[in-house]
C-alpha cells in the first residue's frame, strides 16, 4: 500500500447525511471483476443531475470530500472506496463513518478522517464561499486545514500507523503464522467443516 503522510487538494462540500454506499456506487457497477476503473461509477445517479457538486468546476477536480454525518452506511462493498480513489479522492471528512466503510478505506489508503460536525460546517462555509479552496489533511499531526479553519481529526492509531508506513495487512498477519497454526490445534472437533460437503 502507498504511504499516506499529508495530502492537499481541492475540497468538495457534500452537504448530505447518510450517504450510503449504494449512492457512492450503485449495485449495477459491482458486476465487474477488476479492482480499478470505477471512476465513472462514483455517485453515478447523482452525477446525472447537472447541479450536483461534482458536475461543477472547480469541484470536479476535488480530492478531499467533506460530507455530512453517517458517511458510507449500508452495503460492505469495497467498490465504494475504489470508486472514490479512482475518481481522485484521497481523503473523506465526516463526523461519523459507518464501521465497514471506515475499515475498507484504511485497507486501501483512502483517509477517512473523523472531524467534529461543527468544524465540518465551518469547512463547508469556507469551500462554498471560495470554491477551489484547498484542504490539507496531515495524518502525522491529525489536523485538517481549510482557509482559516484548522481542526483536529480522529482516526484509530493502528490504521494511522499502517497508512503512515504503507503496510500490507496480510503480510503483517502472516508474520504470526505460528500463532495461527497453534490456535488451530486447539479448536474443538465439534466445530463444522464445509468439506466434505454434506447436504440434506
Amino acid at each position: 500500500m502507498e504511504k499516506f503522510t499529508t495530502h492537499t487538494g481541492i475540497g468538495v462540500p457534500l452537504r448530505q447525511s447518510n450517504v450510503d454506499t449504494d449512492q457512492i456506487i450503485p449495485a449495477v457497477y459491482l458486476k465487474r471483476i477488476t479492482r480499478t476503473g470505477f471512476e465513472d461509477a462514483l455517485f453515478s445517479a447523482w452525477r446525472k443531475d447537472p447541479s450536483f457538486i461534482l458536475n461543477q468546476e472547480p469541484f470536479n477536480a476535488g480530492s478531499v470530500l467533506v460530507a455530512g454525518p453517517d458517511f458510507g452506511t449500508g452495503s460492505s462493498r469495497e467498490h465504494a472506496v475504489w470508486a472514490l480513489k479512482d475518481y481522485g479522492f484521497r481523503a473523506v471528512l465526516s463526523s461519523r463513518f459507518a464501521d465497514i466503510f471506515r475499515g475498507n478505506s484504511g485497507k486501501q489508503g483512502l483517509l477517512a478522517a473523523q472531524v467534529a460536525q461543527d468544524d465540518i460546517e465551518l469547512i463547508w462555509k469556507t469551500l462554498e464561499n471560495a470554491p477551489g479552496t484547498e484542504v490539507t489533511v496531515d495524518l502525522a499531526s491529525k489536523t485538517v486545514t481549510c482557509g482559516n479553519v484548522v481542526a483536529p481529526f480522529e482516526i484509530d492509531d493502528y490504521t494511522r500507523w499502517r497508512l503512515l508506513e504503507g503496510l500490507d495487512d496480510i503480510g503483517l498477519t502472516l508474520q504470526h503464522e505460528e500463532d495461527i497454526t497453534a490456535y488451530e490445534a486447539t479448536r474443538p472437533s465439534f466445530k463444522p467443516l464445509t468439506l466434505p460437503a454434506r447436504t440434506s
Binding site: 449495485a27 445517479a45 495461527i180
Partner: protein, 484 residues
C-alpha cells in the same frame, strides 16, 4: 470477570492479543470459523491471492454460493446479462482453482448466502462468521459473532483465516412483552433502527434480549440480526437456547452423537453473565408495538403503519430535517399523508431479511383465498432453492400463484436489483428487504420496508396495509381449521 455473550465469543477466538498501547497499539487477531463467499465481493480477493502467490488457507472452512446476480427466471438458460454471466463464471473458476465448495445456480443448496449457511447447519453458536456482505449479521441469531467485511478483508481471511479487529463496545437491546397478532420480528427491528438511528450502533455489537426475543423462532431471530447493520452495528446477536438447538439438530453439518453433547455443553455457556455490564442499554416495549413501515430513504426513517408521513419540521436536528426533505421529495410523498393511503405498484417478498420458509408461510396465510389487487405485481423469491422446494412441498407455490403472484427461483433478486428484477423509475414498492436507499431496487425506484404479512396485506388492498385491515377471506376459516 463477568462477560457479555459477545465478549465470550470474542475471547474464545483470540489468536494473538494486540501488542502495545497508545500510538502503535494493534488490534487483536481473531480466528474465523466460517467464511461465506459469493460472486460479487470475491473476484478481486481471489485475484489478490493469485498475484501474491498465496494459497487459500482453509478451503474446509469456506463455502461459496451464487446469489446476487442470479436470475430468478429461466435459470436453465445461460445468464442473459454478459457481465453477470462473466462474474458468476469467474466465481466458478476461482472455486475450482482454490478448492472451494460451491453451490451453483440449479443446485438444491444454492441461494442467498445467509439463508444457505444456517440451513446447512454450518452456522452454529459461538462461531465467528464472516462474509463480504454486510448482512452477515444474520448469523448472529445463533449466538455467533458474524460480521460483514470488505474485499480486502475477504482476501485477508482467505490467506490467513483470521482478521485483525479492534474490540467492540456492547449494546443490549431489551425487548420485553408479547407481540400482538400481525406484529413480527421485522417490526421489532424497524422500530429499533428508528429509535437508535442508522448510526446508533456504530462501533457496537448488539445483543437482542428479553422475553419477546426468547419467544421468537430462529427464522424471526435471523430477521432481527440481519438488519443490525442498518443501525450501523458491526454485529447483532441472540444467545442460543432450546429454540436454537431444536433448529440445529439434524441439519447436515450439525454435530452428531457425542459431538452434539459436547457442543451443547459449550453452547450453554454462551450467555451474558448476570452481572456483566453493557456499555449501553436500549429498551423496547413489545406489547405496544405496531406494524412498522419506512417512509424515507434510509431504514431509520420509519413509523407505525397507522401513523402519517412526518414533516421535516418534526426533526430538531438540521441534518435530519434536510435529509427528511430530500427523502420526501425522492419518495414523492407529502407530509401528513396517512401511511395507509399510500398506493404501491409492486410487492417484493424476499431477500436475506425475509425469504425463509416461515416468512413465506406467514405471507401465504394472508393471501390464501384472497385476490390480489389487479394493479399490483407481486414477486415471491424464496431465499434458497431448498426453501423453494420446501414451500412447494407444502403447496405454498400454488397459494401464491392462485393469488396472482409470480413464483420465482432463489436469489437476492429485487433487494438490490443486480439481476433483471428491478423497479422502474418512480415505481413504488412494499418490500420485505432491508434497504430503502435511493435507487436500491432500481434507478428511481421507491421502497417502503415492511414485514411479510404487511407485504401480503398490501398486495391484497393495493395500499400499505396491515393484516387487520383485511376483510375475512371467504375460505380462510376452513383452511385454518384444516391446518389445526
Amino acid at each position: 470477570m463477568a462477560k457479555t455473550l459477545a465478549e465470550k465469543v470474542w475471547d474464545a477466538h483470540v489468536v494473538r492479543k494486540g501488542d502495545g498501547e497508545g500510538a502503535n497499539a494493534q488490534p487483536d487477531l481473531l480466528y474465523i470459523d466460517l467464511h461465506l463467499v459469493h460472486e460479487v465481493t470475491s473476484p478481486q480477493a481471489f485475484e489478490g491471492l493469485r498475484l501474491a502467490g498465496r494459497k487459500l488457507r482453509r478451503p474446509d472452512l469456506t463455502i461459496a454460493t451464487e446469489d446476487h446476480n442470479t436470475p430468478t427466471l429461466d435459470i436453465d438458460k445461460p445468464i442473459a446479462d454478459l457481465t453477470s454471466r462473466t462474474q458468476i463464471q469467474t466465481l466458478r473458476n476461482n472455486c475450482e482453482e482454490f478448492g472451494v465448495r460451491l453451490h451453483s445456480l440449479g443446485d438444491a443448496e444454492q441461494g442467498i448466502v445467509h439463508v444457505v449457511g444456517p440451513q446447512l447447519g454450518l452456522t452454529q453458536p459461538g462461531m465467528t462468521v464472516v462474509c463480504g456482505d454486510s448482512h452477515t449479521s444474520t448469523h448472529g441469531a445463533f449466538g455467533a459473532l458474524a460480521m460483514g467485511i470488505g474485499t480486502s478483508e475477504v482476501e485477508h481471511v482467505m490467506a490467513t483465516q483470521t482478521l485483525s479487529l479492534k474490540p467492540f463496545k456492547t449494546m443490549a437491546i431489551n425487548v420485553e412483552g408479547t407481540l400482538r397478532p400481525g406484529v413480527t420480528a421485522k417490526d421489532i427491528i424497524l422500530a429499533v433502527i428508528a429509535k437508535i438511528g442508522t448510526g446508533g450502533g456504530q462501533g457496537y455489537v448488539l445483543e437482542y434480549r428479553g422475553s419477546a426475543i426468547r419467544a421468537l423462532s430462529m427464522d424471526a431471530r435471523m430477521t432481527i440480526c440481519n438488519m443490525s447493520i442498518e443501525a450501523g452495528a458491526r454485529a447483532g446477536m441472540v444467545a442460543p437456547d432450546e429454540t436454537t438447538y431444536a433448529y440445529m439438530n439434524g441439519r447436515p453439518h450439525a454435530p452428531q452423537g457425542a459431538e452434539w453433547d459436547a457442543a451443547v455443553d459449550y453452547w450453554n455457556t454462551l450467555r451474558t453473565d448476570d452481572d456483566a455490564v453493557f456499555d449501553v442499554e436500549v429498551d423496547l416495549d413489545a406489547n405496544t408495538l405496531e406494524p412498522f413501515v419506512t417512509w424515507g430513504t434510509n431504514p431509520g426513517q420509519g413509523v407505525s403503519l397507522s401513523a402519517k408521513v412526518p414533516s421535516p419540521e418534526d426533526f430538531g436536528d438540521e441534518n435530519a430535517k434536510a435529509a427528511a426533505e430530500r427523502a420526501l421529495q425522492y419518495m414523492g410523498l407529502a407530509a401528513g399523508t396517512p401511511m395507509k393511503d399510500i398506493r404501491v405498484d409492486t410487492v417484493f417478498l424476499g431477500s436475506c431479511t425475509n425469504s425463509r420458509i416461515e416468512d413465506l408461510r406467514a405471507a401465504a396465510d394472508i393471501v390464501r383465498g384472497r385476490e390480489k389487487d389487479p394493479m399490483v405485481r407481486m414477486l415471491v423469491v424464496p431465499g434458497s432453492a431448498r426453501v423453494r422446494l420446501e414451500a412447494e412441498a407444502e403447496g405454498l407455490d400454488k397459494v401464491f400463484k392462485d393469488f396472482g403472484a409470480e413464483w420465482r427461483f432463489a436469489g437476492c433478486s429485487m433487494c438490490l436489483g443486480m439481476n433483471p428484477d428491478q423497479l422502474e423509475p418512480g415505481e413504488r414498492c412494499a418490500s420485505t428487504s432491508n434497504r430503502n436507499f435511493e435507487g436500491r431496487q432500481g434507478k428511481g425506484g421507491r421502497t417502503h420496508l415492511v414485514s411479510p404479512v404487511v407485504a401480503a396485506a398490501t398486495a391484497v388492498r393495493g395500499t400499505l396495509s396491515s393484516p387487520s385491515d383485511l376483510d375475512p377471506a371467504p375460505e380462510s376459516a376452513a383452511l385454518t381449521t384444516d391446518a389445526a
